[in-house]
Amino acid sequence: MTMLDIFPNWLLAHGPAFLMALPLLLAAITAILPNEKIAWFSSFAVTLICTVTAFALALNNIQNGVSVYPLGGWDPPHGIALVIDALNAPILVLIAFMAVITIIYALPATIAEVEPKKRAPFYAAFLLCMAGLLGMVVTGDAFNVFVFLEVSSIATYTLVAMGASRDRRALRAAYNYLILGSIGATFFVIGIGFLYMETGTLNMAGMARILHDLEGGSRVAKVAFGFIIVGLGLKLAMFPLHMWLPGAYAYSPTPVTTFLSSTATKAALYLLLRFIFFVFDPDFEYVASVLTYVLVTLGVVGMLFASMQAIFQIDARRMLAFSSIAQVGYMLLGIGIATTASVAAGYLHLINHAIIKGGLFLALGAMWYRFGITRISDFKGMAKMMPWTMGAFTISGFSLIGVPFTAGFVSKYQLATAAAGAGWWWAVGVIVVTSILAIFYIGQALLLAYFQDPPKIEGRTVAKNEAPLAMLVPMWMLVFASIVIGMRGGVIVDASWRAAIFLLGGGQ
């Protein structure tokens, strides 16, 4: 009797299609629902079902290995296949789980941040975004990846723009995101076109096999690789291509920021892993040189540069956004070193960072909800005004810095050992330096919150006003996840190793 027996067979057999189709269909229904409460409830149910399904599929993957679901009964070389393997199963669980967290949080947050008329469409767009993200992770067809990438992106543009009722800069942020996101997606689809020219198939496993037989392929494959890296780099906010990210994170409604920071860039990073290590192969000479000279360089420069910029931000959400760019640098460093240990560390950091940054953004959103706070200088006395929210912010902040017994420490330590194991001692130095920079930018908020008195308004000190339970519960769920991974991260660390071994073979 294992945990897998709880789930019925049909769920395991048809789960991949559910993950993609259920949110899509419910998004369509939600779009015409008149009542936001019903819309909320249906989205909550869908995200919950998707989480259970993703969890069941991940367990099934651990026990029974890779499963392929031919959509419409057409077998892979001709039809679109949905594939569940060690690389995408944990990401699916992550996306669905973060969607549940965000939806719970959205119940009070949308009332504060979104116009009444737009609340039901908000949930519809949210489900659409989730369907796109799940679809692009679950599919095994390269062009289908593009379609779902755009489904999620287009939904995201509207979601970001919904922040306009709070701050009109959201409109410009959404516009910039749209321009850069579309350019990224178009670069990606050009790359897919060249790959199709080279291999004659769109199935990613088939592409991998043919490229392997061609020993890397001709110049067309190289060009394809370049386009795909740039396209995905735009989507995942690789350092010089990150210009859309701070605006989109700072001005969109809090649930959207949380969901974006913890899933959208992560799904793009997953695609990067998928293309570099699965479709292409780090043994090809051009892939290896891009990994070592481009990804590592950009990752490291991004880590240092974005951490510096985070220190000088006024807006707290912009600070966290720049910190996100820095954290993407860690993951790129892990990918670029390209040993099994480093890829596992990068993958682990991907999951951990989603949880940590989710918690931080939720805490900031709660502060805005109660006191309208967006600037770091407003943190004064926050520990007395909102002790639980500030507690969640503090623990997640420590986790971001990499204090022992938190999730951030586990992945940063693993990344540092992996870098040292590959002989990259200077990379260890960079990891330490950027962690110290993280102490500065998180620390300035914490110092104000704990060692300053709450501000006085008309002579009276601002009273304690804790966030509602619907905000505290998801926030602390993420905090607990972060601590549990830090104390005994067995399952997630195993998952990251399984993903890395799936990509690179046993090795070190």
């Binding site: 001709h78 755009e150 287009i154 009109r168 410009r172 516009y175 579309s182 076109g193 199709y196």
Partner: protein, 158 residues
């Protein structure tokens, strides 16, 4: 002379690709160089259209017919299999009884999807521009940045 001739013939035989590259560059340049929000979207559309052309170019098999099965005596099962597989053209050319070469239909289908995606992006982009104009009263990026400049610095002045 002969080298030039050869180069020019290869150049002309690949004029589709040249058109694609020119359109791509024009589109990208307009997106980055123009400061008007609508013009940027126009550039984006040109850029995306160049990709449609690229895919259509890939699908052309020289001497190929449109990929439509017209023979009635092909049983519908076979027709189904052949029409739906991307290898239809190759099968028909090499193994099929009629020796008809078909163009590859798959990229056309892909591009149909990509066109829809492009239309959706353009619609969202234009509606964002409408909203931006309602919020700021203009669609020139430099001016909008100017409006937001004081707003962004409010934290320092206090």
């Amino acid at each position: 002379m002969s080298v030039f001739m050869m180069q020019s013939t290869t150049l002309f035989s690949q004029f589709n690709y040249i058109a694609v590259i020119i359109l791509m560059m024009v589109g990208l340049y307009v997106v980055f160089a123009s400061r008007n929000l609508i013009k940027k979207l126009v550039g984006l559309s040109v850029f995306q259209t160049s990709v449609f052309l690229l895919y259509i170019t890939i699908s052309k098999v020289s001497g190929g017919q449109p990929p439509i099965l017209v023979e009635d005596h092909v049983s519908s099962d076979e027709a189904l299999a052949a029409a739906a597989t991307q290898a239809a053209s190759i099968e028909a050319a090499h193994g099929g009884a009629h020796h008809v070469v078909y163009s590859n239909p798959l990229p056309h289908v892909l591009i149909l999807t990509a066109i829809v995606v492009g239309v959706a992006t353009l619609a969202i982009g234009l509606s964002l521009v409408v909203r931006i104009r309602e919020a700021y009263g203009c669609i020139e990026e430099d001016r909008i940045e100017g409006f937001d400049f004081d707003y962004t610095l409010e934290g320092i002045s206090k």
